[in-house]
Symmetry: C3
Subunit: 267 residues, 3 copies
């Protein structure tokens, strides 16, 4: 099978940036299959990109996975390649790759791409997707070893990504909005394994308090379990707690944005 | 030739949902060629998706064609696979697939995917594109028969899609806006074969009356046949009557939305 | 290696137009690798499309390169195919292809597609991407010669694309905004080779005057060289002068649109 390369960026599709990365990969690794995970990560939203990458990669073939959400491009932050059990991750060293790497078994090897032999020279100061990450990923997809991609880097030196943790406050669970998707569904920082200690019970009613407003909701399985226009709390397709309005927009209804605190109180 | 799989959804490209479907297909059918028809169908707009699918499929290679516009996901609506003469359609049983199937020669075999052996378990309540439709399509693209995809379903039990029909009212033809594209061009529910009985004559002037306003137009061949800023009625690239403003936006000019009535009166 | 076909249009991704072009190519040249450069060119913005094409093509494999930004579709403008040293360009004869062709070594052969044997009949008046450009590109990608694609056309008859040139005015350099990207970065019409005569010095301060406002800036290498919220002038990844605000939006800050005059004055 030809190697798979996946791409996830905040480049958007308005300009030719994503197409240029595809071109660079096709020149170096013409047999590789390239899959666009998304290029719609909000600009510079490292956490949103990191979570999307973690959610997507278990469903793709093993391969070389490029992610670029990179507000520090051209500055001192490193470019890196990471080897996990059966995956290779390429991108900036700003925490973007870490949640996916941990989900895939942890980082086994890391290299710093600063003096990689595969850079597209002259390396621009502003487009490392084209000049660093795409050519390195393509070379690895073509069969090169990660160790050849640059200089060894101690795993402890990798930049981490801080994610807020939910906490109990009396009866209530205090969580945070992590992501808002295109439908206005809101992912919370409460995973399936957090539920037993959460005080929340499937099938029960609760109150959802966002900054400035409280709305009644039901903890249920899917949108159609509540009438159109009503709020539900559910485990989403990544087994993470989320808020939705059946045929509506929960983020708009609750005026929620990423990082906002969300209080869930059983009634 | 490797099999072709096409995708059409209302998922948008902001999130990783489409990329995840590509990943699922690539794991199961790595040789398949995947073509994105569009992921920009307005959310839950079954009719818009159904018409886009019908218009696109005659131009793609025969293959497995997945469509997901699915407001009832997780509820009682069925997931289905349909066999037409030389095409296979996969998606929700809400009418979305029917206009394309009829255009391609009609449904010859239908199966209910509820107990398909190819589901990605555990099947989520909210993301059947990933857990039902992509893996079923990939298995068929890999060579499996539709009959193996699930339980036989009587063709008469399939959900239909109601589309409004145009009607004559004296001199006028009363039609409906079906679709508005990104340019503001408006597709009407008047097809090439409806024209002889429509009372409209190519090259002639007419009045176009939308709810609340009437605008002069010419029934002509292409945008450049009228001055910039003027309205034309024309047969679009699917041989369906449409409204456009040369270098402008007909939907905005007429304040038209899908389902609005449009009265065409020769003058 | 299978042939590469690239696509660049102003079709957007909301409708099925791009997917249909992919389908047409896959039917005719099933082995071709198709790369979407971008479909987000602003509607009818020939210059923006021409510059994006020129910037992208040096990074793609040689192949058949389709571009469609075509306000005159269905009118008297020609459809053309051009042969450069190792590339083939296909699109409307409105100047769109010319900057890329010149950058790639110049046009060596041109044909008029009006009576091409490869048109998808009946050719619609409004969707030449589907009916003219995609099938011609696919036939060439499948191994046909450009000369077979249509009737010979004298290179001098090709429509040109006028681009404004920067000029000196005392100490100041008077340039123009060519493009605004999704981040609000503004490409100016000043290329690397124009810099020695520009009066601008790397590392120095300058004033940037847009219609109605003047902002202090630094001519530097990358975003992180100035504090967040400050304006910089830099050579972008295509070695063209550009304006950006570190972690901000230069076009919004300066209220700049394509074609606006921008005065750069050393201080």
């Amino acid at each position: 099978m030809p190697a798979t390369v996946t791409l996830l960026t905040d480049y958007g599709l308005q300009d030719e940036y994503v197409g240029v990365c595809h071109g660079v990969i096709a020149r170096i690794a013409p047999e590789a299959r390239v899959i666009d995970l998304t290029h719609g990560v909000p600009r510079h939203a490292i956490r949103s990109g990191a979570l999307a990458l973690r959610r997507a990669l278990p469903f793709t073939p093993p391969g070389v996975h490029v992610a670029v959400v990179d507000p520090g491009v051209g500055g001192p932050r490193r470019g890196i390649a990471l080897r996990c059990v059966d995956r290779l991750l390429v991108g900036p060293d700003n925490g973007l790759l870490i949640p996916a790497a941990e989900h895939l078994g942890g980082v086994e090897e890391a290299v710093d791409l600063a003096s990689s032999p595969w850079l597209l020279e002259p390396v621009s100061a502003t487009f490392h997707g084209r000049d660093v990450f795409a050519p390195v990923a393509a070379a690895i997809a073509g069969g090169a070893a990660v160790a050849e991609a640059g200089d060894p880097l101690a795993i402890e030196e990798l930049a981490a990504l801080e994610l807020p943790r939910p906490r109990r406050d009396g009866d209530a669970l205090v969580a945070h909005a992590l992501l808002v998707d295109v439908y206005g569904n809101v992912t919370l920082n409460v995973r399936h394994e957090d539920l037993p200690a959460s005080g929340l019970a499937f099938g029960h009613s609760l109150e959802v308090t966002a900054p400035g407003r409280t709305v009644h909701a039901t903890f249920t399985g899917t949108f159609a379990d509540v009438p159109a226009g009503e709020l539900l709390v559910y485990e989403d397709a990544s087994r993470t707690l989320a808020l939705a309005v059946n045929r509506g927009d929960a983020a708009a209804e609750l005026q929620l944005e990423p990082d906002d605190e969300v209080r869930l109180t059983p009634r």
